[in-house]
């Protein structure tokens, strides 16, 4: 049957089993919206109208990060497309599978500085996994098919499809066929690890005296948490997760030594620094993890498992590179370990664990609650207890993000949703919308700061429209706290532009959008407020916790230092 471009678009989404699409309309996508509306009426798809394209993109990211599906978004040409760029770049840095549709001006107007024309394919080229401009209706279905395929396979990432308006109009029609698998001679990710390297890795594992497993977001993306658990427990090695990898291994398990990196635990960083073998899995030796590269883990041999060959030996040279899908490689390693039947030397491991427990005894995350105002760390810890560690926690960027990562103990993957690579303030609330839409009955929180929440505050409107009962935990210190902390440490307390003047009354603001607002000023009221909010199952509750103003995130590795040079409280 011959279909219009807009109809083909809908049929492609259906074939890809897209249930939810996030977006914002405009001139160049009106034919697509016309078709979307009809499809929605027939119950084929649900469109979520954000209040800003950035919000739509982060929502799509939250949806993708909390499920095993790609996030899908649609925005108009020009300003709609440029507003989406932050979300696209964010997804690129954190390898989030997204398919983003942008409207484009009519083909004959491209290059003419037409109204709302922007070269979005050019603008996004450095921050997408791939992008396409559709120039013929005959290519539309095939291009969309490729977009989904590229976004979701290999190392996932955002793919943008730019569609000129006249391709979607009612004049041109084309036969629709979506059956053929995507043909791509130039794209063929390696999934299975090289057998020789896997055997070498086993040799290293069995010889290690002071090993540590260091895992990142790749484990979560690959859906390999249970394999990681088997592998780690077979070996009785300590394990640390990156900020993106939290939840891949249960945080309450005794082999878990906490997050590593700039604001990681003392024990995780010390164990990394003193290790003789690092097994890096789906992690990329980011500068927030390694500290000063010259001082990085001087005695460690490194095994690195990653689906992206370009991540291997990029920042740190490794001894055993294994390119492949984390799950498949872990399964192969487990199998090979079983075949060999050997165990690492338990006496050595015993000494290593004893050393680690001495580092743990420092209790680097301790804090006192003898503060006049609310203690931010305490709020997160209480929320973890009261939500029984079972919430989906989204966060913005700043001190509150680090406290959320340090004090909420994630025992399951896909529960911790934050912007790690790009560090995008404004991510939290819209991401939480995406999560709540994907998991309507789940407990979803957005831990945020008084700066970040204002960057996508307009999405409170979206939350009212779709009745999303998100719990916003705002740790309001009156400052751009993370900036202030750096200014305190490294700029002689010159608090340039980091004080948040003229904060709104967040309670009233929440109420104006039809939500519940609570203001909490004392530690003793924290528990009551959280309980009250948790009990309001079907309402969004904005909790404005007035926290101590100049609290700092500890421990910390200052810039230029090594992992063994942490500042403790």
């Amino acid at each position: 049957m011959e279909l219009t471009g807009a109809e083909i678009f809908i049929e492609c989404l259906r074939a890809e089993r897209v249930e939810t699409i996030f977006g914002y309309p405009g001139g160049a996508v009106l034919f697509l919206y016309d078709a979307l509306e009809k499809a929605e009426k027939e119950g084929k798809i649900k469109h979520i109208l954000a209040r800003h394209e950035q919000g739509a993109l982060h929502a799509a990211e939250g949806y993708a990060k909390s499920t095993d599906k790609p996030g899908v978004a649609i925005v108009t040409s020009g300003p709609g497309a440029t507003n989406a760029v932050t979300g696209i770049a964010d997804a690129y840095m954190d390898s989030v599978p997204l398919v983003v549709f942008t409207g484009q001006v009519h083909r004959h107007l491209i290059g003419n500085d037409a109204f709302q024309e922007v070269d979005i394919v050019g603008i996004t080229r450095p921050c997408v996994k791939h992008n396409f401009l559709v120039t013929d209706i005959k290519d539309l279905a095939d291009t969309i098919k490729k977009a989904f395929y590229i976004a979701t396979t290999g190392r996932p990432g955002p793919v943008l499809v730019d569609i000129p308006k006249d391709i979607t109009d009612n004049e041109s029609r084309c036969e629709f066929n979506y059956d053929a698998p995507p043909k791509m001679r130039s794209y063929n990710p390696t999934l299975k690890g090289n057998t020789r390297q896997i055997r070498r890795a086993i040799d290293f594992l069995l010889e290690a005296k002071q090993p540590i497993i260091y895992t990142g977001g790749g484990v979560i993306m690959s859906g390999a948490s249970s394999q990681l658990k088997d592998f780690t427990q077979m070996l009785n090695f300590p394990i640390t997760n990156t900020l993106m990898g939290l939840g891949a291994y249960p945080a309450t398990d005794k082999q878990f030594v906490g997050m590593l990196g700039m604001h990681g635990t003392y024990e995780a960083n010390m164990a990394m620094h003193h290790s003789d073998l690092i097994i890096a899995i789906g992690a990329r030796f980011d500068d927030r993890v390694t500290g000063n590269i010259e001082k990085f883990c001087p005695d460690a041999k490194i095994i690195h498992i990653d689906i992206d060959p370009a991540s291997i030996s990029k920042n740190i040279m490794v001894n055993v590179p294994i390119v492949g899908d984390v799950k498949q490689v872990l399964l192969a390693l487990i199998k090979e370990l079983k075949i060999r039947g050997d165990q690492p030397d338990q006496e050595n491991l015993g000494h290593w664990w004893k050393q680690i427990s001495e580092w743990q005894a420092k209790d680097c995350l301790k804090f006192d609650t003898n503060t006049q105002r609310v203690k931010a760390q305490y709020v997160v810890q209480k929320y973890w207890e009261l939500s029984e560690g079972d919430a989906y926690v989204c966060s913005d960027v700043g001190q509150h993000q680090m406290w959320a990562a340090q004090y909420y103990k994630f025992d399951q993957p896909n529960r911790w949703i934050n912007s790690g690579g790009l560090g995008t303030m404004g991510f939290g609330l819209p991401a939480a919308m995406g999560v709540q839409l994907a998991h309507p009955d789940a407990e979803v929180a957005c831990i945020t700061g008084d700066g970040s929440i204002q960057m996508c505050i307009q999405e409170l409107g979206t939350c009212s429209q779709y009745k999303l009962p998100i719990k916003i935990i705002s740790l309001n210190n009156g400052y751009l706290g993370m900036v202030r902390q750096w200014q305190e440490f490294f700029y002689q307390k010159n608090y340039a532009m980091s004080y948040n003047e003229a904060l709104p009354d967040f309670v009233k603001l929440a109420e104006a959008y039809g939500h519940v607002g609570l203001r909490i000023e004392k530690n003793e009221d924290v528990e009551g407020a959280l309980k009250e909010a948790l009990a309001l199952k079907d309402r969004l509750v904005f909790m404005d916790f007035v926290t101590e103003q100049e609290g700092n995130v500890y421990p910390m590795i200052p810039a230029g230092a090594g992992l063994n040079e942490m500042i403790l409280v």
Binding site: I150, S186, E294, A310
Partner: protein, 172 residues
């Protein structure tokens, strides 16, 4: 590792890529975004119209060049990448150079240089010679140096093309 200790070497990289709009800017953009240098870059379609062949010359330490090859491979439009430098490749570059002679003696000198370098004069007008020279870049540089005493009006270089020796071929 101090930066000063790292040995930088010249690499000639062959790239086979989809002949699609934007493919070239993906490669060029990759180099500028990641701060890799490009000494020269040439590109044209192959006998198979759906493919373009690019020769890219860059300079860097082994680690950097390994990253460059991986990052190039990661581009969706790139079908194959090969570092030719590993096996003494054939390299050629073409140059047009326009030289004007001050007097008849100089005309003779230029013609002799053209013969020595096996270059060709393709146009002459009132003591101005347009010369075509083909060879590796050292030869072209040497030719420029040799005619420097005369007035060099214009130089156009194609950038290096490379191909491997023997029966190995970069094909899909």
């Amino acid at each position: 590792m101090g930066m000063s200790m790292i040995k930088e070497e010249r690499h000639v990289i062959s790239i086979l890529m989809e002949n699609e709009a934007g493919a070239l800017s993906r490669v060029a953009g990759l180099f500028s975004a990641r701060g890799y240098n490009i000494e020269s870059l040439t590109v044209a379609p192959t006998e198979d119209k759906s493919l373009s062949r690019m020769t890219l010359v860059t300079c860097g330490s082994n680690d950097i060049v390994e990253q460059i090859l991986k990052q190039l491979n990661k581009l969706i439009d790139v079908v194959k990448v090969y570092d030719l430098s590993e096996d003494n490749p054939i390299e050629r570059e073409m140059m047009f150079i326009k030289v004007s002679a001050n007097n008849m003696a100089a005309c003779g000198a230029i013609k002799r240089l053209v013969d020595i370098f096996r270059a060709r004069i393709i146009d002459v007008k009132s003591r101005t010679f347009t010369i075509e020279v083909t060879g590796d870049r050292n030869k072209l540089n040497a030719f420029i140096a040799a005619v420097e005493d005369h007035n060099i009006l214009e130089v156009v270089r194609s950038g290096c093309m490379g191909i491997s020796r023997g029966n190995s071929a970069l094909k899909i």
